[in-house]
């Protein structure tokens, strides 16, 4: 008999508290925009922070509140931006897919070695020791600070230099911030012709430290029919809007520092 009383008592208590919770849920309900959840589903989901917000949740809330642009999340990609725009009832802005590129070809053996570094595995630390392990002060140090920061596994280190897989890269920009030498830059994915050197020293000094250094000779500039190339600070720059991706510049470059992907 005791077990029946106990069962009844617990059942009654359960019902009472259930009723209380239902009441509380109705009474104190907080209106949440369901679009926040929908937007969140379209994002990269890595909480990379590249958008400038605390994480994906905060960014989604900001988008719905109209404080952040719909294309603010780079990892969301083109598809994600289109869906977020649909949710927000806006026209999808024209976003070109960007990708991080390593603007250096100073592999081991190509860039001169200043000393054999055998210390703490961090580019920033190595860069502060006698100007870094490679003679070129613009070169990729190759100890993988960018790799540590990449949440998408897009960066691998090979032969003393970082390599970025454009398929996996979401252009979040974490590697750009992590690089103490500013060797990594975000470029449009369609821009397959890239000047892979940023050495602003004189031609002679640049060539003395790296076989693949841009010496600022200007042959690419002369070859370009679309005036897309300027030589400034001792190295060539390509204007992505003017460039037609013809590849003529890469063919004449005597240093092999313009590459076609």
């Amino acid at each position: 008999m005791t077990i029946v009383y106990a069962g009844l008592l617990l059942g009654a208590l359960g019902l009472a508290f259930g009723g209380l919770l239902t009441f509380a849920a109705r009474k104190f309900h907080v209106q949440v925009d369901e679009r926040i959840e929908q937007v969140k589903e379209c994002l990269g989901g890595a909480n990379c922070g590249a958008c400038g917000y605390a994480g994906c949740d905060a960014f989604a809330a900001a988008v719905v509140a109209g404080k952040a642009p719909v294309n603010g999340c780079a990892p969301a990609g083109e598809k994600g931006v289109r869906r977020i725009s649909e949710i927000m009832g806006q026209a999808a802005p024209d976003t070109e897919k960007m990708v991080a590129r390593v603007l250096c070809q100073g592999e081991n053996g190509v860039a001169m070695e200043r000393y054999a570094y055998d210390g703490y595995k961090s580019c920033a630390v190595a860069a502060s020791l006698a100007g870094g392990p490679k003679d070129c002060r613009f070169a990729c140090i190759g100890l993988g600070d960018c790799q540590d920061k990449c949440k998408f596994g897009a960066i691998t280190m090979a032969n003393g230099i970082a390599q970025i897989d454009p398929e996996k890269c979401t252009a979040c920009g974490a590697c750009v911030k992590a690089c103490p030498r500013s060797v990594i830059s975000l470029l449009p994915l369609s821009q397959n012709i890239i000047v892979r050197c940023r050495n602003s020293d004189t031609a002679r000094a640049a060539r003395a430290v790296c076989m693949d250094a841009c010496i600022g000779c200007g042959r690419c500039k002369k070859e370009c029919q679309y005036e897309a190339i300027i030589v400034e600070n001792g190295f060539a720059h390509i204007d992505h809007e003017k460039c037609t991706r013809c590849g003529a510049c890469a063919k004449v470059c005597p240093c092999g520092c313009i590459t076609i992907e």
Partner: protein, 456 residues
């Protein structure tokens, strides 16, 4: 006499004893090389500005780099001859530094306008600190802090004890040891000059007990000198750290972020004292220093090198390498700075040139922390190195700052003791550098804002 020491610390026995053995009985030899390269940033603070140009003839002791502000000291030609280059050269830091190269004509002619002040007991105390500044003297124990800045106190601060740092706790180095044996009078003279300049009555010369000859020599030199005494110390690392030495000798603790003067003490290295004596008595600027050249070199020696001697020349004077070197560094094994190559010149603070063979210089991979706490027991400051390491490796420098990483003196005791071979000290240095850069950026931003506000 009772031997004093500080709390915690380590005993790098095999390093200290084996490392110091080859040179501890080697008398100081003079060495003048064919050429020198004097870097302009030989002190903490603003670098000197070169005031000679290529082709100029210079004499020994001539100013070739002028001080650029209060936190700066002049640089003097350490040999006579022709200036062959005034250019930027890569040095031990991240950025290249300005340097003046001189080719020796071996005439060793001094400048004519030296201003000797005479006996330290009779010199006008007011003239001592300007003489130290003009002689370009910096802390010669390794930190290269301008000595005249150290001796100029802010309003209200006072000093009651001057400690002469003869601990030389670093492994491999015996330069201070030999200097104390061979130039003991000069060291006491330098100390007396500073004591009179600052009106201080107590001068303590602190020497570790693994240098009994130095203790005997200094005691002999200190006899009959007013207020000067020799204090033997227990041999322990980092006894020669400024804050550790103050704690050991006076029992006072320098507060976090504070300076020795906050506890009314000034610490000077023995080399600095000898340089001060040269500057005051003879009016000679700092142009040479004793440097221990040891490790895998054929004949390890203590050399009195002219400032700016190329490391390669000094090693050549010691018979060259005895085996293939893996690493060459300035300073001892615990706090020394690695050289990118051996064509780097020495500076005023270079107390040693040590070469390690390939086996000695191979670094070991780190393994996970096993929470044994040996680093905590070793840290002379009383920090928790294992916690700071986690914060620094995760890039959480703010947490590292809260754990007082800025009080770390980078002595390497924790890393030396770590059985998991954690790379503790490099990550602390990294965290300290990052925090310093952040603080600098913040200060610059605040200054810019203030300026903007004023303009409106």
């Amino acid at each position: 006499m009772q031997k004093l020491t500080f709390r915690r610390g380590i005993h790098p026995l095999h390093g200290a004893h084996e490392g110091k053995l080859p040179t501890r009985n080697m008398p100081i030899e003079d060495y003048v090389s064919d050429s020198v390269t004097l870097i302009m940033s030989m002190n903490i603070g603003a670098p000197a500005v070169p005031c000679v140009k290529k082709g100029d003839q210079v004499k020994v002791g001539q100013v070739i780099g002028q001080a650029s502000g209060f936190m700066s000291v002049p640089v003097h030609a350490s040999i006579s001859g022709e200036v062959t280059a005034v250019e930027q050269i890569p040095y031990l830091g991240p950025a290249p530094v300005m340097a003046v190269s001189i080719k020796n004509d071996f005439s060793d002619t001094w400048v004519d306008d030296l201003k000797p002040l005479g006996n330290v007991e009779r010199v006008d105390p007011k003239l001592v600190i300007p003489a130290i500044r003009d002689a370009g003297i910096v802390g010669m124990g390794g930190a290269s802090f301008p000595t005249h800045v150290k001796l100029t106190f802010r309003e209200g601060a006072y000093c009651d004890t001057i400690i002469v740092n003869g601990a030389e706790c670093e492994t491999h180095l015996t330069a201070d040891h030999r200097l104390m044996i061979e130039n003991s009078e000069r060291i006491v003279d330098g100390l007396r000059a500073v004591m009179r300049a600052l009106n201080v009555e107590k001068g303590v010369i602190a020497i570790e007990d693994n240098k009994p000859e130095a203790i005997a020599a200094m005691e002999k030199a200190a006899t009959g000198r007013e207020g000067v005494r020799v204090q033997p110390m227990v041999t322990k690392y980092p006894q020669g750290g400024e804050k550790q030495l103050i704690e050991a000798v006076t029992g006072r603790q320098v507060p976090s972020g504070g300076l020795p003067i906050d506890v009314h003490v000034v610490v000077l290295n023995v080399g600095t004292c000898a340089a001060i004596a040269d500057a005051v008595i003879d009016g000679k600027p700092l142009i040479s220093r004793v440097t221990t050249v040891t490790g895998c070199v054929r004949e390890p020696k203590n050399l009195r090198l002219r400032i700016g001697t190329i490391a390669e020349d000094a090693i050549g004077k010691c018979g060259g390498f005895s085996e293939t070197p893996g690493k060459v560094f300035f300073g001892g094994a615990m706090t020394g700075l690695c050289l990118p190559n051996i064509s780097v010149p020495t500076a005023k603070s270079t107390n040693g040139i040590v070469a390690f063979n390939e086996k000695e210089s191979r670094s070991k991979d780190e393994s996970p922390c096993i929470r044994c706490g040996r680093c905590v027991a070793a840290c002379p400051i009383g920090l928790n190195p294992y916690q700071i390491k986690v914060a620094a490796d995760a890039g959480n420098f703010e947490l590292a700052r809260k754990l007082h990483v800025n009080d770390c003196i980078l002595c390497g005791s924790c890393a030396y003791m770590c059985p998991a071979r954690r790379w503790l000290t490099p990550s602390f240095k990294f965290a300290k550098d990052k925090l310093a850069a952040e603080a600098k950026a913040k200060a610059a931003a605040a200054k810019a804002e203030q300026k903007g506000g004023k303009a409106q």
